[in-house]
Amino acid sequence: MVLERNLMKGNEALAEAAIRAGCRGFFGYPITPQTELSAYMAKKMAKAGGVFLQAESEIAAINMVLGAAASGVRAMTSSSSPGVSLKAEGISYMAGSDLPCVIINVQRGGPGLGGIQPSQADYWQATRAMGHGDFHILVYAPCSVQEMVDMVSKAFDTADKYRMPAMILADGLLGQMMEPVTFPEIKAKQPEKPWAANGHGGKRNHNIINSLYLKPEVLQKSVLERFERYEKVKMEESDAESYLADDAEIVVVAYGATARVAKSAVNSARAAGIKAGLLRPKTLWPFPEKQLKEACKNAKAVLCVEMSMGQMVDDVKLALSCSKPVHFFGRTGGVVPKPSEILEEIKKIGGAR
């Protein structure tokens, strides 16, 4: 069967994909450039037999997600940068309670209220410190509307598998743009959740969902167990797209919308006889270290491009153990880099060696 390709905004596609992935609890609070997602959910979620609720605040919304997830329901919230900061406390509580959920961040410029144009300046927040305490969340970085659809379903599955929150780290450009999409068939079955607090009918002991451990040794044990799980996640879940990297002397590393611009620049560089390639992380945590090392095996230099002052560039240097020169080019505050600017950087680095 040929699935019909329809034009859809990234934000709406995320919402439709979530419903199809079995999300039955959406709790949000509107913010540009993410609002179409909530609006779509408001229209469609009730028809799918789920709950849509516009909360009184972001903090309320994430705690509603916590409650729904604790009862075993696939739950989601979405926001943009300032709103995600407000959700940080709740996300930490969910990580500490080993609860799966999906959080969408359609990033805009910051800090503070910042602006409403596309940005990637929340990389550190998403991958390093999405709240207080020792924990990680899964972070997916789509670069097209179709990939947004595919990653939502993947994020729900992986969050359930490891019992941890997952984030889709998008940006205003991806959220607002329309591209052709097809949707996968609706999944019939979701994993059993024997840990869920969803009523025991007197047939089993009650489940407790909690993140409070007052005895240091007990808390340490729970954190250590979680970090053992993280090791498994690092082994199995990192993902990246490698493009023309095999013989590349200059490897550009970029994710999300920036990777699209970078790919155009790489194509122009190749046309100009420069051996350039692209490594596009599809997961930001876990960071695709192996894939990056492989892509850079023949590289003389690496160029990291972001819509920020340079955040992922840290992970690039760490993954390569600073064995190659790593350059950075960024635009921030809502400015989208131009292909010609990235090409200039590639040429500069190529000429400098």
């Binding site: 034009l7 409403i116 205003g172 450009l173 607002q176 743009m177 329309m178 699209r260 155009s264 131009k338």
Partner: protein, 176 residues
């Protein structure tokens, strides 16, 4: 072959809708397409624009900075984008709304009283689609079969009665 298009005008002129029709047209011709609106704090009467890419290759940045095709439906938009059109490109200007003439000799400019033509033909508010018709006639970037399907796809089901009117507007643009 890649076409990078900017459509620009006032909010309320159907700029985003016209862009959607073009994007769907490309999709119906089984090509790669993208559509990206400006999403500043715009409102009715403010400026609105959108970028549309139609290509045989996967699309890189959906943000068009130097269009090869421009549709301008008011003076601020004309002033903002006419200088950005690539040499050899084409500009389609609603001459009901813009009374300036372009001084560039490295692009082709077409002046169409689109808003007026729509009004005269009882298609008030469809100047945007008249311009699409003219663009298609001068460029042939979308097949006529595909553009018909594109209109059917783009008009929401609740306004299906407007499909015929949109097709008529395209025809008027094509004949101008």
């Amino acid at each position: 072959m890649t076409n990078e298009i900017i459509l620009a005008g006032f909010g309320g002129q159907g700029i985003l809708f016209a862009g959607k029709v073009l994007a769907y047209g490309g999709l119906m011709d089984e090509r790669e397409v993208s559509w990206l609106p400006s999403y500043g704090p715009e409102m009715r009467g403010g400026t609105a624009n959108c970028s549309v890419c139609i290509s045989d290759e996967p699309i890189g940045s959906p943000l068009v900075l130097e269009p090869d095709l421009l549709i301008a439906m008011n003076l601020p938009s004309y002033n903002k984008f006419i200088g950005a059109v690539k040499p050899g490109g084409k500009a389609f200007i609603d001459s009901t709304m813009v009374d300036e003439k372009c001084q560039r000799d490295d692009i082709d400019c077409f002046y169409i009283p689109a808003t007026q033509l729509a009004l005269e033909n009882n298609l008030n508010g469809m100047g945007n689609i008249v311009l699409i018709g003219k663009l298609l006639k001068e460029t042939g970037i979308i097949s006529s079969e595909a553009i018909k399907k594109a209109v059917e796809k783009s008009v929401p089901p609740t306004k299906a009665n407007l499909i015929e009117a949109n097709l008529k507007a395209i025809e008027i643009g094509m004949k101008y």
